[in-house]
Amino acid sequence: MQKNDLLEKDRDLFYSIEHTGPAFYWMVGLLMTILAFALFTYIIQIKFGLGITGLAQPISWGFYIVNFVFFIGISHAGTLISAILRLSKAEWRRPITRMAEVITAIVLAIGGLHPIIDQGQPERILHLVTSGRLQSPLLWDVTSITAYFAASTVYLYLPLIPDIAILRDRGTKPRWLYQFLSWGWQGTERQKKILERAINILMVMVIPIAVSVHTVISYIFAMTIQPGWHSTIFGPYFVAGAIFSGIAALLIVMIAFRKVYHLERYLKEIHFKYLSTLLLIMSLIWFYFTFSEYLTTFYGHEPDEMKVFFYKFTGDFSPYFWIMVICNFIIPVGILSNSKTRNITGIFIASVCVLIGMWLERLIIVVPSLANPRLEYPTGIYIPTLTEWALFAGGVAVFILGFLIFAKYFPLISIWEIEEGRETSISEVAHRLSSYLPDDVEQDEIKKILK
């Protein structure tokens, strides 16, 4: 009886799993075509060498490394945000944690492949296994990305178990998949306790791992002595930027899937309001970091640093630099600090701008330092070729594709957590509130008001 109730109430959440329209197949087909084209260009790159990219000396890192940093940055949306929200018992987290975690798992896999795409001899990746050196920041990356990927897929999977069990009980096909993945979940008290304990341990563990991942990625640059890279704030700067772009990606995904799968009942204005506040704060933090990074450089006025500085501010890269500032700071702050423009459309525009801006930020960190070597070399400007664009498009296509396929098999919003919210959150919040307030306020009173 109760179960039927639940299914009736939450039937919107099963919609994407049980109804597959032609639009889904068209979309998958389109993404597959893009992916196939990307694969094709990659095969050509393997055959002829990295010469078919726009890279040269001294600009030997380009799009691939930029996208690597960018995609790994987005991955911070998920697990980090969901872990922090869970840890702080924010009640509004319930409908958004799942999406955030899915972003992490997919994007991390895409980002992790980029250094291999960038390699001149991809089959020699095995040399990392046989004779790697843990002294190199690249190996720190390998270790911490592997750890983050393992932890975040587990962290995505564990809260999914009760939902998989619901699907299994509904008889959704393929049945064996849900039977296999649900591990005999029946929702008994003891099972709930085990799962809760595991999730609690993981969410505490995942936060330092997530922070370490982007710190270590910044170290790839910061550990060298190159002007513009050798900076002590790079670790926190990259982490802040990563969370910033992650929230923007999460907002875009939420808005898109809310529209496509009609999830308005679950993803309400308030969720966007809270998340966009977070985005606004991150935008300010990002500006603060950027400001202190460039002010120290400018004030120090070291000639080699200044070459890179002016390359960004007034030189060849100035259009990108100022677009970045507009996209990352002026537009989001402008839109989000005004309650009139802070509606779903406004938030969507701000988020897209932030993603563009953060991608440009990665480009601005990687390329100008390489384009201005200390000694006098003639340097050209880096112009990416079709290969690099195709592989970028391929990465984005895999991201959307991964999301669509996930949504085809699993609920994008945690059903059991919503249900749990219905059952327990009112009394829990009442209890929490009463513990904040002076003792003379009765708990029952708060409960009454909340109801």
Partner: protein, 227 residues
């Protein structure tokens, strides 16, 4: 053990680029076409950097031959993920081509930008392809390469000395650039041996190294120009 080093006298250097050519031939450095070269993919282990001073008509051009500086504290070897580049016991920064995975991290880390990358499979004009140096391997596409102080010459000289049952002598091992320089601007030898030419030259007041402030301790020294 010897510590190999080089001293380049900028006062004697005319910028004739004989060292560049000698190096290219000795080490089978690939030849790239015009288009590639314009993109910045020229491969040179020994390069000559030019620096223009003053306004026309009182301009002055300065030349700076630049091999790999063979730092004693190399920023490139620290970051290599697979030990394809490392400081060998005689102070030469080795570059092991069959081990290199082509991540180009060492290129990004080198403050002197001495490394080049094989963007394509290397090729030579037909006439040159028949005359490659058999002592140096042709690098495949996708690996980083740089000046090795002609380390194959060191191996050969050592073997010759060993088979004649004697120590390696001064001037027995000399890289191609030093050997071919028409003005003898490049001297080469053991920095640790007190009587070698280079160890006498580095006591000169004109001596300096490139980007000294970085603490990379290069073993390629320069003698500044006398005005």
């Amino acid at each position: 053990m010897a510590r190999w080093g080089m001293v380049i006298d900028l006062n004697k250097c005319t910028g004739c680029a004989e060292c560049v050519t000698a190096c290219k031939v000795e080490n089978n450095v690939a030849v790239v076409g015009k288009d590639e070269s314009e993109m910045g993919r020229t491969m040179l282990w020994m390069d000559i950097l030019t620096h223009y001073e003053g306004e026309y008509p009182n301009t002055k051009v300065r030349y700076l031959p630049r091999p790999c500086l063979q730092c004693d504290n190399p920023p490139c070897t620290k970051v290599c993920p697979v030990r394809a580049t490392y400081l060998d016991p005689e102070g030469i920064v080795a570059q092991i081509f069959p081990q290199c995975i082509g991540c180009r991290y060492c290129m990004a880390a080198c403050p002197y930008t001495v490394k080049s990358f094989n963007w394509y499979e290397p090729h030579w004009p037909q006439e040159m392809a028949a005359a490659l140096n058999p002592d140096v391997s042709a690098r495949p596409a996708g690996v980083v390469e740089k000046c090795t102080f002609c380390v194959h010459r060191l191996q050969k000289a050592k073997e010759q000395a060993d088979s004649e049952n004697r120590e390696l002598q001064d001037n027995e091992y000399i890289p191609a650039c030093a050997e071919d320089c028409p003005t003898q601007a490049i001297s080469f030898g053991d920095l640790d041996s007190p009587h070698s030419e280079v160890s006498e030259l580095i006591r000169s007041p004109r001596i300096f190294t490139l980007l000294e402030e970085l603490g990379t301790e290069p073993k390629v020294y320069y003698l500044s120009e006398i005005e």
